[in-house]
């Protein structure tokens, strides 16, 4: 039995690099320091859903074949296609992504990563407006005001609050954990008193709206120099909202309105309405006061902004709000990146093609026009004629209409698990888990590169994504050369 320390967790964009794994007999048997998703990944990577043998669909059934046959079939599909789509990439290493881009160029296809259905609009907006940002270390040590907008880190990035923001112990800022515990205790106490009074004297029910307003307006309990404040903006009360000093419950699809209203308030303009997006202006003024009076604010935004009405225009407004706030104090903004290497996918794409996602090589040179060259649009227009999916599950994650066309294409899936896409694929190639069975590099959400460790050996015959892609690429090149010779 051996213990490996400082392992990087290959789940979400936090890339926590303090995981301790106990390895016994080439298997992870214990996970320390990780969140629920981290533990599920390290304990579940070798579950019964694991793919171990390459498969090809013959007469409607997936049949086990050799890796050489599967690679040849995949190369054939890609080489013969006129407009193949190469999609996924955010759950593998930068090294594998790099080979994938070369393959896309070779086959004249479209290469796109999962940011297209995640923070794609944020990238478009950042290109338009610019982004005042920093590393998470800066936030941990200095930020005294944290805002989560359209994001529920408690579920999507479980250790984000503890490692980098409100509950982290920074050099200059203390954790707000104690305040939170005190607040919860006070709330529980108050609830007990209320229910006792109710039981004794009041027969009718206390309306829940009253209880909510009590909680909503509970001011932060400690306003000391080193304390931190937390604001959560969301359409529903989440677990993250519960720990916030201020929770702003906004009506769906009205983020743009609220952001612009906050911009006006930051610029000392008066609003001639009582409510914006269902939030009283009085309450917004309180929030703007907290924003402009902080020393170092950090706004983290999630898919609540990119996926609802307005999309990239919401991000325009959020970035502009932070720009405005920088005229009053120090403020930074950062998207909450989902997959562990989605930032890496954007980075490697940009190095090699000049663009972060949705890159079209069909004319022989890279073209980028999200809305046209983005994978969901291509599928909705039914233009692609083959697809290679690496470390992703678009059949499960795309809208049904887009997934439908994907199933009509010859489909190649490279994945460690029998996911939904692999179930409907024509060629399935099992791969080693990046960050567990294969080493590599990944980029954290703040664009800090962090090495991924190989902690166990992959099952016999299972190769890392990078090697599989290199073999497909070599095979495609061979096919193309043979075609050229034939034509000559």
């Amino acid at each position: 039995m051996s213990v490996v320390t400082a392992v990087t967790c290959p789940v979400c964009g936090c890339l926590c690099d303090d995981i301790e794994l106990t390895i016994h007999d080439n298997k992870v048997v214990k996970v320390k320091n990780g969140c629920a998703m981290c533990e599920a990944k390290f304990m579940g990577y070798s579950s019964e859903h694991r793919l171990l043998k390459p498969m090809i669909r013959k007469n409607g059934e997936l049949v086990k074949v050799s890796i050489t046959e599967a690679v040849k079939k995949a190369a054939n599909i890609l080489a013969e296609a006129n407009y193949p789509v190469l999609y996924g990439w955010s759950n593998t290493s930068c090294e594998a992504i790099s080979v994938g881009i070369e393959l896309a160029e070779e086959v004249g296809g479209v290469i796109d990563n999962t940011s297209v259905v995640c923070h794609g609009p944020s990238l478009l907006s950042i290109q338009e407006v610019g982004i005042p940002s920093c590393t998470l270390g800066q936030v941990r040590h200095r930020a005294d005001l944290i805002i989560y907008w359209g994001s529920n880190p408690w579920s999507s990035h479980p250790r984000h609050i503890e490692r980098y923001t409100a509950f982290s112990h920074g050099r200059f800022k203390k954790s707000a954990w104690k305040n939170y515990v005190t607040k919860i205790k006070a709330l529980v106490g108050r609830k007990k008193v209320q229910s006792a009074i109710k039981r004794l004297f009041v027969k009718e029910k206390i309306p829940s709206a009253v209880a909510l307003s009590n909680f909503r307006h509970t001011p932060y309990l400690q306003t000391g120099k080193n304390s931190r404040k937390l604001i959560v903006v969301d359409v529903r009360r989440t677990k993250s909202a519960e720990i916030a000093d201020y929770f702003v419950q906004i009506e769906p699809n009205k983020d743009y309105e609220l952001l612009q209203a906050l911009r006006a308030l930051v610029r000392d303009q008066e609003l001639e309405v009582d409510n914006v997006a269902g939030v009283p202006v009085e309450y917004l003024e309180e929030i703007v006061d907290a924003m402009v009076s902080c020393d170092f604010g950090a706004l983290f935004f999630g898919l609540g902004l990119t996926m609802s009405g307005g999309k990239m225009r919401n991000i325009d407004a959020a970035l502009s709000l932070v720009r405005d706030l920088n005229m009053r104090t120090k403020f930074v903004i950062m998207p909450m990146r989902g997959h562990f290497n989605v930032a890496g996918a954007n980075t490697v794409f940009t190095w090699q093609t000049g663009y972060p996602y949705a890159v079209d090589f069909s004319l022989g040179y890279p073209r980028y026009n999200p809305g046209e060259t983005s994978v969901v649009d291509i599928l909705l227009r039914k233009e692609s004629d083959a697809a290679l999916i690496v470390a992703s599950d678009p059949i499960s994650n795309f809208p049904r209409k887009a997934a439908e066309h994907l199933t009509e294409n010859p489909l190649i899936a490279i994945d460690p698990h029998m996911n939904v896409t692999a179930q409907v694929a024509d060629v399935v190639i099992p791969s080693a888990f990046a960050g567990i069975e294969a080493a590599g590099t990944a980029y954290r959400m703040d664009h800090v590169p962090i090495p991924l460790k190989k902690v166990v050996e992959p099952p016999k015959g299972v190769l890392p994504d990078e090697t599989i892609l290199q073999r497909i690429l070599a095979e495609v090149k061979k096919l193309k050369q043979a075609n050229v010779r034939e034509e000559a």
Partner: protein, 152 residues
Amino acid sequence: MGGCCETAGLGSVVLMSINEKPKLEATLITGRTIEQGVEKEYGKSSREYAESVAVCYIDAEDMKKLGVKEKTNVQVSTRFGSVVVKVLKSPRTPHPGIIFIPYGPWANSIIDPETHGVGMPSFKGVPATVEPAADKPVLSLTELLNAQFGKV
């Protein structure tokens, strides 16, 4: 269908006629839950994964209006399709008129594929109606894929 006698707003329940089931007009949000996050890592072919995502979180008041109990089936429909899922009482309320289905093939059967020229479909904020569907089953992943793509 009977005539509608009142203007439908978010969170309002419309009784189309005396014999018809009540319908809830709502806004559909899809997103991450920790259960979905954990189960997707273990493997999507599992029953636990299906149980973590083929659900719909509804405000307790809305459940009362609809006359549905927790863990019974409801049909959620949008302009883009309809799907049967199990009702769960939203743990943190109130959010009348907002329903939540975790990311997954069930949610994606009914979200808005329109990308508005930026590549991103509308996974959040889709107008939807919910109605009790005690007589309809929640499809398993294989059944759902077969019904949608006929290829498993």
